[in-house]
Structure formats: C-alpha cells, structure tokens
C-alpha cells in the first residue's frame, strides 16, 4: 500500500499553501539565504583544495630531489683542464658540456670565422716564436 494513502485528501491544499509561503519570502530573507549558501559552499572548496595538497606536495618534492640529484652528480671540469683554445691544454671539450669559454665565444662580437681558424692562428703564433727563437 502506498504511504500517501494514509493522508487525507486536503493535504495537497496544505502542501500548496506551504509552497506559496516559501515562494513569497521577502528579498532580504532570500539574500540572507543566498549568503548562507555561499558560505556553506565556501566550506566545500578548501576541503577540495586540501585534497590536492598531498599530490602537489609530492610532485614538488620529487622535482626538487631530481634537480638536486642532477646538479650534485654533474661532472665538474678541473680548472684549466680542458680549454681547447689554450695551447698546452687538452683539445677535448669538457665532458660536462659547456664551459665558460663557450659562453664567451657565443656572446663575443668577433666573427665566428675567427674562432673557426683559431688552430691556424695558434700554429702561426708557434711558427713565429720558433723563428724568433
């Protein structure tokens, strides 16, 4: 049996009267209800944000650890060890990649052709010293 069968047949009118009383609330009351609702919704938002804190924190920690590991294990060239442009040092580039002299080269105003012929100029210089000696 339906529960509503127990209700007398005047209850729909009662429901309608109650609906009307709820619909006819004044603007100030509706505004206060709106503010209450917004405050309640504001409670839900920080909770959702907190649920992001753990994964976001873990991701940040992993990124920092990775950065530290990369910097820590980066091979550093001994001073004066491998500058290809200084006679008497190894011509091989440092295994770590760029050196300070590379940066000077890139930022220099001299033509790149000058640096391409640097071996020739070094040889020329050595010949001149031999002739003088």
């Amino acid at each position: 049996m339906n529960d509503d069968d127990d209700l007398p047949n005047w209850t729909p009118q009662a429901k309608q009267a109650l609906d009307e009383s709820a619909q006819n609330l004044d603007a100030a009351t509706l505004s206060r209800l709106n503010r209450a609702r917004q405050r309640a919704l504001g409670l839900a938002r920080p909770r959702r944000m907190r649920s992001w804190f753990v994964p976001a924190g873990l991701a940040s920690a992993c990124a920092v650890l990775l950065a530290v590991a990369v910097v820590w294990h980066r091979p550093t060239a001994p001073p004066n060890a491998a500058d290809p442009f200084i006679p008497g040092t190894s011509a091989a580039a440092p295994s770590g990649g760029f050196s300070a002299s590379d940066l000077d080269l890139v930022s220099s105003d001299d033509g790149i052709e000058f640096y391409q012929d640097l071996d020739f100029y070094a040889w020329l210089d050595a010949q001149g010293q031999d002739n003088n000696g």
Binding site: D6, L7, W10, L18, A22, A36
Partner: protein, 185 residues
C-alpha cells in the same frame, strides 16, 4: 587536471543547486519550529554547514533526507537549549503530546477538509498558525511527510525514530490541524 577542476565545479554547482531547492522550505520549517526568523536562519545555515561538511560525498539521491536529518537535529538541539534555559517553567506546562486517543483521532481520508474553504493567503496564514501550535515532533512529521513528500521509512530515518512513531505523530498532527483549521473555515 582540467577534468579534476571541472569535476569540482560540477560538484559545487550540484550542491549549490540542491541547497537552492531546499533552502526556502528549510527556512519555513525552522521558522515554524522557532517562531523566529533570525533563529531559523541560524539553524538553516548550521544545517547547510553540517550537510556540506559531512554528506556531500554521498550520492545526490540521498541528499534531501540527509539535509533534513541535519536540520532536524539542529532544531532538536535548539529546543533542548531552550528547555534548559526555561526548565523552571516546564513544571507548569503539561505536554499535550501524550493525551490523545489515537484511534479516535484517526483522520477521515474522504473529507474534503477545512483548507478548501479557505483561499490563498488566508489558508497559508491559518495553516502557519496551526502548525506553530503543534508539538515539535508532530509538526516535523507533518512537514516531512506532507510537504517534502518523504515516505514513512524515510521520515523515520530523518527523525531518528520508528516508523510507528511517524504514523502516530502524523495521525495526531492531522487531527490537530484539522481541528484548528475548522475555526477559520
């Protein structure tokens, strides 16, 4: 990430929509229980907070009973606090709830009823006055069963009582309302 943000927005809009659909009726219920709009507003706000804090993770289909359960709890707390404050008066006031012959008071479901003879605002005011005079549990049962349309089991769950109690409260409420509204007709 974008999907998570969208889901959060959807949750917010779903909660917002739900609260919009219940807030006016909730306020009127609380107002009838407290006879004060300010107190009613506080209760509804507390109920919204409690609902958002504890129950929005539940399926949306269960939100209405859960919200009214929180509101009912807040209304009961309000009455409890009020009782404590005015305990010295209690000795002078007889509880009307236990004095009614249940069988004699059973509603006649075929009678067109007193509200038919009242129109518009007059009916609303008469019903409002009659509801305010009902004992709290009877009024709450009537509002949940008749206005919210909850079935007996859901109403019992909301009010944390047995289905038998719901039927008893409702029967008494209908009888008292009918008697009160006859005066206006």
């Amino acid at each position: 990430m974008r999907e998570r943000v969208d889901a959060a927005d959807t949750d917010d809009s779903a909660i917002d929509h739900f609260l919009k659909t219940v807030e006016r009726r909730a306020l009127r219920m609380a107002e009838m229980a407290t006879s004060s709009r300010d107190d009613a507003m506080d209760l509804v706000q507390d109920a919204m907070f409690g609902f958002v804090r504890h129950y929005t993770s539940k399926p949306a289909a269960d939100w209405a009973p859960l919200f009214y359960r929180v509101l009912d709890s807040r209304i009961n707390d309000f009455h409890r606090r009020k009782q404590v404050r005015g305990r010295w008066l209690a000795a002078w006031v007889k509880p009307a709830d236990d004095e009614v012959d249940e069988i004699a008071q059973a509603p006649d479901t075929t009678d067109p009823g007193p509200l038919l003879r009242l129109a518009g605002n007059e009916a609303s005011l008469a019903l409002d006055e009659a509801l305010k005079k009902l004992p709290a549990r009877q009024r709450q049962t009537f509002l949940l069963r008749v206005w919210e349309g909850f079935d007996v089991a859901t109403t019992a769950n909301v009010m944390r009582c047995s289905e038998g109690s719901v039927k008893t409260h409702l029967s008494r409420a209908l009888t008292a309302l009918r008697r009160a509204l006859e005066k206006y007709a």
